[in-house]
């Protein structure tokens, strides 16, 4: 978790330090020379920014809880019936549904064992399906989805105002001082101003750009995910339009910003103690390693997950790098798939082995310069150095959304969090077999894993 929230702390530090410097060094001068309202407005903006930031980071974006084993079994049965039980490698699971005249494909999430609702997507960093998935924002340390999109938007909007405000007034401060005592003296008297100007200057472009972009998205009722994929762009076809849009900008904005916020589904699940043995899922926010039921036996401390993942990655990476082969197959291989993948068997990870941090797509080369996107590169690289180029192979194989980056490929479920942390991950079959038992009891898991193998080799 620490790794993933690193950028969030950076955001906090940047905001706190810049505002702190502003209030300490610039406000006195400005309050005296111009008007004391300036620090007041600054203070209000600062508090608003902080509030919305914390709200965005710590609220549940709209995580969809994983299916109970019974549900998953039922779905599997239905799919088998529909497909005529082809046996070893079932085809990729999709359902088509017509919404408002547009055909939308619903994909089956192998991690969550559900058919994702329209507009939902699986975030590999959070290892959860999120409703109305917009993107995973590392600056905020959380996914942005249905329940916290408005807070995110208010955050970037208020941050744009705050950045512009500080930038403008620091410049004013320096100019006024220069009139009094000369430019260089002014800079010497107020060194912090230089730092503030620099920070604000770079922030302004990205934050204001991002705000503008999201304003456009809100008014057309699209998610970042959909926009980047071009799901509803007219370039795809003449009859392609956004079925979720309400038609006019005003309604779209109201719906996104003032509409009802559904309660958190994972919080709710904390109250249930029905059939399956479950741990009470974490309520809210950054604990994204999921609030699940059937996976409870695999749930573990997040740090442990990350550590064991790193270990696994390092272990798996070396042979991977040497082999240069179809990594997707490896990534998703599980012990019992030893047959089709003989060479890989020793690398397989066992357990819910769909879980390698594949979810992190290749950082796009042609994205707009949005801060979230840019920042993505840092944690991506931070996460899996060994995997970055393997992603390059995987992406074209799996999706043509190579420009997709954080807008996680739906086909590739779970990331580090899913790995079974209890046992030393690893190399030996024996080890894998030992903790694969919980999963192996679940025959669905086998099928879904095989399905994955098929998927990724497509």
């Amino acid at each position: 978790m620490a790794k993933q929230t690193g950028v969030f702390y950076l955001t906090l530090v940047l905001i706190l330090v810049t505002c702190g410097l502003f209030f300490v060094f610039d406000c006195q001068f400005l309050a005296l020379q111009l008007t004391p309202i300036i620090p007041v407005i600054g203070g209000v903006l600062f508090l608003f920014v902080l509030g919305t930031l914390l709200r965005t980071s710590f609220s549940d974006p709209g995580v969809l809880p994983r299916a109970t084993p019974d549900e998953a079994a039922d779905l599997e049965r239905q799919i088998d019936v529909a497909n005529g039980s082809t046996g070893y490698r079932p085809p990729p699971r999709t359902k088509e549904v017509v919404i408002n005249g547009q055909t939308v494909k619903l994909k089956y999430c192998f991690t969550c064992k559900i058919f994702r609702p329209p507009r939902a997507s699986h975030c590999s960093l959070c290892d959860n399906c999120v409703e109305r998935f917009d993107h995973h924002c590392p600056w905020v340390g959380n996914c942005v989805g249905r329940r916290n999109y408005r807070f995110f938007y208010m955050f970037i909007l208020s941050l744009s105002f705050l950045t512009i405000f500080i930038f403008a007034f620091v410049i004013t401060h320096i100019i006024l001082r220069s009139h009094q005592s000369g430019f260089l003296t002014a800079l010497k008297d107020s060194p912090a101003s230089v730092l503030e100007v620099v920070v604000c200057f770079f922030s302004v472009w990205s934050i204001v750009g991002l705000s503008g972009f999201h304003t456009y998205l809100i008014s057309s009722n699209q998610t970042t995910n959909e926009d980047i994929k071009g799901s509803w762009s007219s370039k795809r076809g003449k009859d392609n339009y956004n079925p979720y849009s309400y038609g006019n900008i005003f309604t779209n904005c109201c719906a996104a910003l003032c509409g009802p916020i559904p309660p958190s589904l994972i919080d709710r699940r904390g109250f249930i103690q029905p059939d399956a043995p479950q741990l009470t899922p974490p309520t809210n926010g950054i604990t994204m390693y999921g609030s699940t039921q059937s996976q409870q036996s695999h749930m573990c401390d997040q740090d442990q997950c990350i550590q064991s993942t790193k270990f696994v990655l390092q272990a798996a990476a070396t042979p991977l790098l040497q082999q240069q082969s179809s990594e997707p197959v490896i990534m998703t291989a599980c012990p019992e798939n030893g047959a089709p993948l003989p060479g890989r068997a020793s690398l397989s990870l066992g357990g819910p082995c769909t879980s390698l941090p594949l979810g992190q797509p290749t950082p796009p080369t042609s994205t707009p310069s949005l801060s979230c996107h840019e920042a993505d590169m840092l944690p991506i690289h931070g996460h899996s150095h060994t995997h970055t180029h393997s992603h390059n192979h995987i992406h074209p194989l799996q999706e043509q959304v190579a420009h997709h980056h954080y807008l996680t490929p739906e086909e590739v479920p779970s990331p580090p969090g899913m790995l079974h942390c209890g046992s030393p991950m690893g190399h030996s079959h024996a080890v894998q077999a030992s903790f694969y038992n919980p999963a192996s009891q679940d025959s669905l898991h086998e099928d879904s894993v095989r399905g994955l193998v098929k998927l990724s080799s497509v």
Binding site: N100, L106, R119, C258, P260
Partner: protein, 144 residues
């Protein structure tokens, strides 16, 4: 709940199976369940009754998610008070969810339990499915 009574009364827990009514996404992302009658319930309850239950559920969820003056007002008020207002009052959605819970309890008591069925509130399944548990009906003696 009727279920626990029957579990306690019987010597052995009745064999049960579960039927899942999936979501219907044809109207978009709003919460709506398929009204298609599952074949497993054929012998237990009549189609009309079942469809009526599901339809009422759908209407209730639609009411919860409805966009209108009232919900906008609530949203704006919440924003102005920095969402602290939700410390004191429930959101409209939560109120409707409570209504739904009462409705399901009511339906279970009146209609489903006497037929050896149990509806589970969809919120407990993450609004993915309506889970209907079918208990073995000992009086009829049908094994499942």
């Amino acid at each position: 709940m009727a279920e626990t009574h029957s579990l306690q009364d019987l010597q052995q827990p009745p064999v049960s199976s579960k039927v899942f009514v999936q979501r219907d996404y044809s109207s978009g992302t709003i919460c709506k369940f398929q009204t298609k009658f599952p074949s497993e319930l054929d012998s237990r309850i009549d189609k009309q009754q079942f469809e009526e239950t599901i339809q009422t559920l759908n209407n209730l969820y639609a009411e919860a998610e409805k966009l209108g003056g009232k919900s906008y007002l609530e949203g704006c008020l919440a924003c102005l008070t920095a969402y602290t207002i939700f410390l004191c009052m429930e959101t409209h959605y939560e109120k409707v969810l409570k209504k739904i819970a009462r409705f399901i309890k009511d339906q279970n008591e009146k209609i489903y339990a006497p037929r050896g069925l149990l509806l589970t509130d969809p919120i407990e399944r993450g609004l993915r499915v309506v889970e209907i548990t079918i208990f073995e009906d000992r009086s009829i003696g049908s094994g499942r």
